[in-house]
Symmetry: C2
C-alpha cells in the first residue's frame, strides 16, 4: 500500500515526503504509518521526512522485490494472455518465463513476446527457468491437475484464478483471486446508497 503510494510520488518526481503527507495519500493515520515504517528500521530524517526513493528501495527489499522472480502462466486463454500482457509485472520484479496451454491449436502463438508452449513441457520449464511462482489461468476443471504438476515440479507458490479451492501440501502457498468478490463489495455499497444509508453500523469492516 505504502509502496504504491510512494511509487506514485516517485513518478511525480517528489524527492521527500512527511509521514503526514504519505499517510494522507495512503489513507491512514500518520502515527500508524510511522509505527509501521519503524518496523523496517529508522529510514526517516527528523525535521525532514522520508526520502522517497530510499524508502521505495527499503520496502521493496523487505518485500523481496529487489530480486527477480520467474513466473509461469498456465492457460493461454483471454485471462492468461491478459496477464502476460499486464504491464505491472515486468516493471515490478516479475519475469514471465513461459505461457503454457494444453490446446495444441494455441501452442506456438506469440503473446507478449513469448511463444505459447505445450503444457507437457511444464516440468522442463520450471527447472530450466527456475520458476518460483505458478499462475493458474485455466478452466476450473483443469486447475487442480495443473497445481499438482506445479507442486511436484517444486513450485511452492501458486496464484489461482480458477474458481476452485486447490488442495496443496503444507509448505505450499496458494492465493486465490476471485474477481467477483470486488463486484460484490461494490454491489454492497451500491445497495447501501440506495437504502439511504440506514442499517447496521458494522459496515466499516468491509472498507479495507
Amino acid at each position: 500500500m505504502y509502496l504504491r503510494a510512494l511509487q506514485a510520488l516517485s513518478d511525480r518526481g517528489t524527492p521527500t515526503v512527511s509521514s503526514e503527507e504519505l499517510a494522507t495519500v495512503a489513507g491512514v493515520n500518520s502515527a500508524k504509518l510511522r509505527k509501521d515504517l519503524s518496523h523496517l528500521g529508522s529510514y526517516g530524517t527528523r525535521g525532514v521526512g522520508y526520502d522517497v526513493e530510499y524508502l521505495i528501495y527499503q520496502i521493496s527489499r523487505e518485500l523481496g522485490l529487489t530480486q527477480d522472480w520467474s513466473v509461469a502462466i498456465v492457460g493461454a486463454g483471454n485471462l492468461g494472455r491478459a496477464l502476460a500482457n499486464y504491464g505491472g509485472f515486468g516493471t515490478r520484479g516479475f519475469r514471465i518465463a513461459a505461457l503454457l496451454d494444453a490446446d495444441a491449436a494455441v501452442v506456438g502463438d506469440e503473446v507478449a513476446g513469448l511463444s505459447v508452449r505445450h503444457i507437457d513441457t511444464l516440468e522442463d520449464v520450471v527447472s530450466m527457468e527456475k520458476v518460483s511462482i505458478g499462475v493458474i489461468a485455466t478452466p476450473a476443471a483443469a486447475a487442480q491437475g495443473v497445481c499438482d504438476r506445479f507442486v511436484s515440479a517444486g513450485v511452492t507458490s501458486v496464484l489461482n484464478f480458477a474458481p476452485v479451492v486447490l488442495n496443496v501440501p503444507d509448505g505450499v502457498d496458494v492465493r486465490k483471486v476471485d474477481l467477483s468478490i470486488e463486484l460484490q463489495i461494490l454491489a454492497f455499497h451500491e445497495q447501501r446508497k440506495a437504502d439511504g444509508h440506514e442499517g447496521p453500523d458494522w459496515i466499516g469492516a468491509l472498507e479495507a
Copy 2:
C-alpha cells in the same frame, strides 16, 4: 468469505453446518464466526447448527446479492474478454449488460454472447440497461476519461483494472484491482522460505 465457504458446502450437498465446521473451513475461530453471524440475526439452531441454504440466502441478502446488478465493461482486449467470460459473475447476481471498446476494429465482435459496442454508446447503455457498476479494462491512458464518462452518466461504482489511480467526486466508489499485488505477496512468502524463516515476526499482517 463465509459465503464462499457455504457455497462450497452447498455444492457438496451438505444440509447443515456447525459454527466449528464452518469456522475451520473459513479459517477462523468458531466464536468469531458466531459473533459475526449474530450481527445478521439469529439464524442458527442450538444443538444443531446453521442451515446452509438459509444462511447463504441471509448473507446474500445482506450483501445485496439477491437483486441483479447490471455491469458494463469498457475495453474489449484480453482482460475485458476474460472478464466477460468469467463464469463467476452470471451465477452470482451480476449481469454483463454490455462490452464497449473504442477500437472500431473490434466493435461487433461476439464475446460471451454479447456484441461489442462502440464506446460512444456508453451513456445510452448506462441509461437503457440501468448499469450500476462500471468496469474499466482499458489501457492506463484511457482509464480516467472512461471513468469520467461513467460518472457523468450516473454510475456511482467503478471497478478499475487499469494501473492508474482514478479521481472521482465524493459519493462514487472506486475499487482498484492490482494483479501484481498478489504476486508481491507470494514473492514475499517465497523469500521468507528461502531465508529459512528468520527475520521479523510481524509477518502475520500480510496473511489476510
